[in-house]
């Protein structure tokens, strides 16, 4: 049932993409919430055009053979991706590729969900027999039995939610090139959760795909730290593979780019040094339009440090138990959330991808939901800020009656919502861990939490 559903969704998306072509490129690609100079579809097309017109163009618009695609300053996509997509530089082909990647991601998400659930059931039922897991109340969606018996139906619902969630749909329609990086990150997580079956193979796959993901978008580079913690005993092997694959990717890029290293500057330099100051929903841009120029380097440094400073402490905290894979995967996803939050060119698409991953955590460790402190508040903040963000941008740019402060204020609110989701998840996991460690298993502790009204007073 799953595969036909994914195929149908694939077809629907492909139709939608080709039908709404002009909508994607004219409307969505101009939304600062969806497209950045780095990831916009226009930039991708520009790169492909420049690459294809090298050599085989004739006549009036002849461009000389030795023209470098990064010289124009408009292309910020790594060379290998451009060279791979070179032969598919038509809209139908690109639409097809986007949809294929998206559908593969759906399949991987379903698999990740399934495997992660097994991990969770094994782990928690071992330690904690009396938990809600064994509760046979059929009205309780936290009951894993219910979920596993209806697992096809559940997966169908997942597919439906994934494919037609407005944020996901908009992410796909805007054709942001971040999807390539996200795809490889998903692949990496996919092989992490499938670890038990073919250990060395999954280690290699996950490390290499993480390195590809980092190669494509830079920020996921830092995920190597939680990955090292996941592969615990094989740290050095992992690190070696990672470095090897990263350097070979860069080497290939170097040769593809006419033995020129300028691609480094216009891809990673652009992201690290925040060279194109354009509003987005992230935290960076406002500082760089407001401050004096001589503070620039300082703030670049501060923001970049922020991007990875929390990774090591969180990784250490979440790797107490060597056997427990769940907490490591948990921290892996949380850290990805933090990296995304402090990214220089943040879009709703990145946020949405993090949400998809977080949903997997919440669906499979349903007890976590009980320990969230303010889920409703966070959700409301996020909904409101996502709705208000384009409105404030409109007031600023088109109406002229607002200004950049309006837009950045709503960005801050969005970031607060995002942060509160992440911190809430840390809190709830740690509370759960505390309860388990201290064997606080009185029945009402777990059952009465079901109702929202007691949430505020549970501790």
């Amino acid at each position: 049932m799953i595969y036909p559903a994914v195929v149908v969704a694939f077809g629907a998306k492909l139709l939608l993409l080709s039908w709404l072509n002009s909508f994607s490129s004219d409307v969505l690609d101009n939304f600062v919430e969806l497209s950045t100079p780095i990831t916009s579809f226009k930039s991708l097309r520009e790169g492909l055009f420049l690459l294809n017109s090298n050599g085989n163009s004739t006549g009036l618009f002849r461009i000389s053979n030795d023209l470098n695609i990064y010289d124009g300053g408009n292309v910020h996509i790594p060379p290998i991706l451009l060279h791979l997509l070179k032969h598919f530089d038509t809209l139908p082909w690109l639409n097809f590729i986007y949809c294929v990647l998206d559908s593969l991601m759906v399949l991987m998400f379903i698999n990740i969900n399934l495997k992660f659930k097994q991990h969770c059931i094994n782990f928690y039922s071992k330690i904690y027999k009396k938990l809600i897991f064994l509760n046979t109340d059929n009205n309780n969606i936290y009951n894993p039995n219910l979920l596993s018996t209806n697992s096809t139906r559940f997966n169908l619902i997942l597919i439906l939610i994934y494919c037609f969630n407005p944020l996901n749909l908009v992410s796909l329609l805007s054709k942001s090139s971040i999807i390539f990086s996200n795809f490889f990150l998903t692949l990496s997580i996919y092989s992490i959760v499938n670890l038990s079956s073919y250990e060395s193979l999954s280690l290699i796959i996950s490390t290499i795909s993480l390195s590809i993901s980092a190669y494509l978008s830079y920020n996921t580079l830092f995920l190597i730290i939680p990955l090292l913690s996941i592969f615990g005993t094989k740290k050095f092997k992992t690190l070696f593979i990672f470095l090897l694959s990263c350097s070979s990717l860069l080497l290939i890029s170097y040769y593809l780019n006419q033995c020129n290293l300028n691609f480094l500057d216009s891809t990673y330099g652009m992201i690290i040094l925040f060279k194109k100051i354009q509003p987005n929903i992230g935290l960076w841009w406002y500082f760089f339009i407001e401050i004096f120029k001589f503070f620039n380097d300082f703030f670049i440094g501060v923001f970049n440090i922020y991007n990875f400073i929390f990774i090591i402490p969180i990784t250490i905290r979440f790797s107490k138990d060597k056997e427990n894979k769940i907490e490591k995967i948990y921290s892996f996803i949380l850290i990805f959330g933090i990296i995304t939050l402090t990214k220089s060119y943040l879009t709703i698409i990145d946020f949405n991808f993090v949400l998809n991953l977080l949903a997997i955590l919440l669906l499979n460790i349903p007890l976590l939901i009980n320990y969230l402190k303010f889920p409703i508040v966070s959700i409301l903040i996020i909904i409101h800020s996502i709705i208000l963000s384009p409105i404030f941008y409109y007031l600023w740019i088109f109406n002229g009656s607002g200004n950049s402060n309006f837009f950045y204020a709503i960005n801050l609110v969005f970031s607060i919502g995002f942060t509160s989701i992440l911190t809430d998840l840390v809190w709830s996991y740690l509370s759960l861990e505390y309860l388990i460690e201290n064997k606080l298993d009185s029945k009402d502790e777990f059952t009465s939490f079901d109702q929202v009204k007691y949430r505020l007073i549970q501790y």
Binding site: H384, L395, S401
Partner: protein, 595 residues
Amino acid sequence: MALLEQIRRKVYKLGLVPKITKRLPLISFLLGVLSCIWILYLPVDGQYRRTYISENALMPSQAYSYFRESEWNYERGYRDEIHKLKDIESIFERNKVISEWLEAIGLNTAVHQFHYNDANKTAGHNLYGLFHAPRGDGTEAMVLAASWNTPDGEFNEGGVALVVSLARYFSRWSIWSKNIIFVITEDSHYAMRSWVQAYHISLDLTGGAIEAAVILEYPGEHDYFKYVEVIYGGLNGQLPNLDLVNTAVSITEHEGVKVSVQKVKENELNRNDYFSRCKVLLSGIKELAFAGLKKTNGCEAFSGWRIQALTLRAKGYGGGADITTFGRVPEAMFRSINNLLEKFHQSFFFYLMLSPRNFVSIGTYLPSAVLLTVSFGISSASIILNSKHSESQILMVLPKSFGLFTISFFISSLLGVSLMYIPVSPDIIFRVLMSSGIILSSQSLNYFNYENNIQNKTFPMIRIKINLPLTVLHSLLSITLLYTSLVITSLLVVHFSIAFLIGICLLPLTFVRPLRIGSESLKLRSFVNFLCLVISCPWTIILVIGVLDKDFGTPFKVMEGLLTSWRDFEVWTWFIITFGWLPVWLEIFSYCVIS
């Protein structure tokens, strides 16, 4: 954090959470009431501020105005000639004469031809002349406009004469650093709008980005007038920068003429007490909400291109001020605007006037609408929290209720959009909508069914046989109220007036409760539901507005305005109703009937 923790423990000890949860509906209602009180409290001394010129470069009335005695003769001359044109029906012929004058003064002129959306009317013509700035680079412009006929249908003799004589007068100065465009349109409604639209799209003779526009209205042939009305509303909640309004007010008062905002009558001009301020405030909210739906005053036409525009209207006959005084106001305003090096940005774009010299800014009045959103948010939460359903049950039915919500959303948006394009007169559309609204609402009176399971024949019933569990209904209601809160939030800053009015109109819907079999007050309950539904129905509100507002006269005019304003003026009000209001009403109606 320790303090927070202590508070939390205290709250837990006192058991406040369940107590508060039980009273959430009351809290929500109180917040709604508080929001009204907030608005009504703004005119109290100490809440509002006195206006001030924020942009230093404006310097209103700092230069001496020379549009005086000698110019009076030119003005009179032009006016006498224009008086003769009154009998010529064809605007085209009239424009020919004016165009000759403007050419003689030395302006480039052009005629903009446009077509009314009404098939019965012939093509219209707007005349405009461009005066190139002696000192500028020609990238910015100011507009001085007048229409042949005022919104009240009078012949705008003095206004057109002033535009021509000011054109002659301005063209002799060498101080201008912005181009000046003189526009004479057929009317200040669609004709003016189409000129502004064409200026930004298709006209050949243009003079750069328009910074500000002043529209003059001086109907009649008399020399003296009593006071000046400053009209500053824009479309879709936009207002001109407060600096422009302040400049106009301060210049007019500097000339010794009284100013009226929001059409305050002459005998109330000297009043500045709570009630007069309150009246101006409420009228400002109302006018902004209905802008574009009725006959516009001209300044609305410039909305949407970052143009600050206002209309100056001379009122009364035989007062102390003569027509050159009225001419000196745009003169001094243009000198002020001419000083600007940047666009208007210093002062407020969101404000409510209380009197010509008093205003409240967005930070002061916005909380009232925020309270409304919070009120809807709280009643949404209270539905879930007081429903005794477990969280998981609610989560299970969420897809179902989302589906129901989407259905009604699609129904109402389809209805709304199709109504704009079907060729039926707005009278009939309104009658059909109104009666269907009443019929649907009366469904909620159908309480006999619950008592005896007998179908009541007194009402034209449409039997609905849908059995939905209470969980679905509750989550549906909760989603709907949350949606309302989101609608108001999203309109808050863009269009405060509409957000506030819609919030107030929808507030009764939070009192709709399901009928419970065996409950004694079944009759009362169903009557309350009926009343709430009727009061919150958009058509009822349109009826009330149409009857009460003298500018409309009938509800059919309101309906016509709603249906045509998007086409003519790009006003969103109809879409806000069909996407924000109607789905909520339909949703709560179906909740009421099904339960």
